[in-house]
Amino acid sequence: MKAAVLLFPGSNREGDVARAIKHVTGVEPAIVWHAETALPAGTDLVVLPGGFSYGDYLRCGAIAARASIMDAVRAHAARGGLVLGICNGFQILCESGLLPGVLVRNARLRFICREALLKVERNDTPFTRRYGKGAVVRFPVAHGEGNYTADAETLARLEGEGRVVFRYVMADGKRDDTQVLNGAANSIAGIVSEKLNVLGLMPHPENHVDPLVGPTDGRALFESIAGMLEKA
């Protein structure tokens, strides 16, 4: 597997995700500067990391979506290459049209950093093969604008096509849209593209890979990707 982690001015979890990939799969990802126009040859996985690209002073991810490297990312996705956007990366994917919908300010208007429970809605994507279907996992969230929103038609389509991969759930494992921590529509935490090769999610699997630091539920996500690419 060859992985590339994009670096925008203001990204700040590029190190965390690069380290998690290395830790779990042994692969050292390339760090790719936003002003580049091409991905390293043979890149299998592109990661858009968390952070505050360009300060997020405009709509989150809006400027990064227009960075030079994003044309290469769009082409990579169109070829069926894997793209993973976490937190700010998810926001950038939405702003760049690779995923539908938008992430707006948390319902309670405050930044939230805490562990969240997520249900793995499907395990037949390249990102979730190593999870049990319907498994409840624990990833931390750390965001001020993670409230997923889309028009009714888009939401219906996402649900109809089974493209919601991660959903926030309560302690009992059930979703409660009235109590969801950031107000996300249908308690959506992560969605995939139609071809299942682009995943965007707000929580941080990369921060839950090391037993010394916390739970290790994030490992399977990186193992899934690596396993998928080995097979291919």
Partner: protein, 742 residues
Amino acid sequence: MTVLDTPAKEPTITPQLVADHGLKPDEYERILKLIGREPSFTELGIFSAMWNEHCSYKSSRLHLRGLPTKAPWVIQGPGENAGVIDIGDGQAAVFKMESHNHPSYIEPYQGAATGVGGILRDVFTMGARPIAALNALRFGDPAHPRTKHLVAGVVAGIGGYGNSFGVPTVGGLVGFHTRYDGNCLVNAMAVGLAETDKIFYAKATGVGLPVVYLGSKTGRDGIHGATMASAEFGEGAEEKRPTVQVGDPFAEKLLLEACLEIMAAGCVVAIQDMGAAGLTCSAVEMGAKGDLGIELDLDKLPCREEGMSAYEMMLSESQERMLMVIAPGKEEQAEAIFRKWGLDFAIVGHTTDTLRFVVKHKGEVKADLPIKELGDEAPLYDRPWVETPKQQRIDPASLEISATIPGALERLIGSPDFASKRWIWEQYDHLILNNTVQRPGGDAAVVRVEDGPKGLAMACDVTPRYCEADPFEGGKQAVAEVWRNITAVGGTPLALTDNLNFGNPEKPEIMGQLVGCLRGIGAAAKELDFPVVSGNVSLYNETHGRGILPTPTIGGVGVLADVEKMATIAFKETSEVILVIGETTGWLGQSAFLSEILDREEGAPPPVDLALERKHGDFVRALIADGLVSAVHDVSDGGLLVALAEMAMASGIGASLLAEPAEVNPHAFWFGEDQARYIVTVSTGEKATVLKRAESAGVPVAKLGSTGGDKLTIPGERPIVIDALRERSESWLPIYMGAGMM
């Protein structure tokens, strides 16, 4: 809004203008004697910036000299941007705490945000990448009309800056007291990691080298603090902007990356961030420390607004700016790195051999001053002070107590100072960098160093009630408490930073608090081998003639050889033995119990026996290292029962407690605040070993009970349900902030 094309004519120097610059008549006389002529307007501004309390420490300097600042592991003590200690393996921890009290009260979001920005900059200026942030916050009475607004703004500001910058905010403290109604305290601490042989300093070397300005542009924000009268500046609205600076964490993140990159590329000879007093202070420090002169050409300064005068440029406190002396021949490489990060880079001057600080603007010399004297000759005051009168020890038998022990515990746990601060720390990203091994809520935060196994433990603390009742004992206690916090997670305390927050030092009783606390801090730091490596003084925290409680916040850093051996406060298993290390006499003077339950803040605070602190702490640390204890918590305000409740709430496991010994008053036993104590749990199998070790070390140990169930039970008292207690603890702040229970 009119933009001035040319600065207004400079005002003539009058006694009023001198006073408006915060300079006393005798201080102005000192200036005249020093330079042998009347200063220009710009020079007057430079003197006022260099000689104010904040930059010159003129009231505290004399007494700060008594602090112990050396140890074999101290690489850099006070006097630089931050302290530096050796943590082994060629690595150094770089840290400091600094206040941003006044601006946070005026504009809580930006005041707190720029406080965080300033302290992060202090750390990365030394070549260290920030790996953790902490903060100590003090607000007024929750019922005061301004308190809620301040809490919301300060917390959002700290989070807004730190989260975007990308440093985990891992710990701190939050307290409420009516004496902070008019002056909240925002003390921000940052800890960074560097290699011991790659530390960068402010000291410039080499004549004729370029002085380079980096970072954001200079604007008119932050000029000169609130005392500045506006009349002399002319009529334009431009000049009347608030004096609080505005932070840009994005710019700071870029500045961090660019600075570390050009340092790694070998471009940097000297570096100083522009904090308080901006360009003036940074340029003077670089020159004075290196025995060099500095000449600045302000025509080259990157400015955000047109028509800025030399005076404004020299005194602006615009954020996210750095000044550097660049190595010969490295200008182009340094500039390319800064351009890549989209930051301003301008050569604004050069070093000279004249020992003069020369400022030129539009072909005129606006200032020409002796550079060393600007700092060295700053006024130094031995202000009159009086010792705080001692208070009597409180005899628990003299107190009329109607609250039951469970009732008192429930009230304490649900009170503003003890209630969970989750609502606050969940607004801080405390997980980024993936090294937060101990999250907020324990005795100390623990951050793994790179891939481990080494870790750093860090904590900040002080008990202002103690400091007010007895500054010397209070100062000692603050240091001992932080030392204990680090010990309780298994860390070896290495060094501390102090943030001294007091009222008006011109009042002898306030000066007495400062002197007393400093003596106490010094005594404890010396006895515990816990030297002071950096710090900050914030005076004049007064409103309507009433000062804050004396609040010398101590921030400490220690090292753990192996983070896997770290201890936490949560009970781990049922049927384990609960022991208290250290003697419990039932000291209620100045206790939280007395204050919260009996509404009395009186009596002598608990004395701190530093030899005992050391003995008990070393004993507990060894137990942790040898894996003999499963949970550890230091006993501080609230006493034994609050500590036990916190251990239970953190785990969901309760405890059956033994009755208090007959010779101690029950309330005093459970809520007294005797020092040098820890609670530990041990398995029944290890109990004998631990007791034997205690006996041979001469450390008093008493059994408190055993873990199990879902309640805390004390013989003869109503059982206390842990879940209900946790609910009390967790609900106070969200309800107070009107946020519901999410």
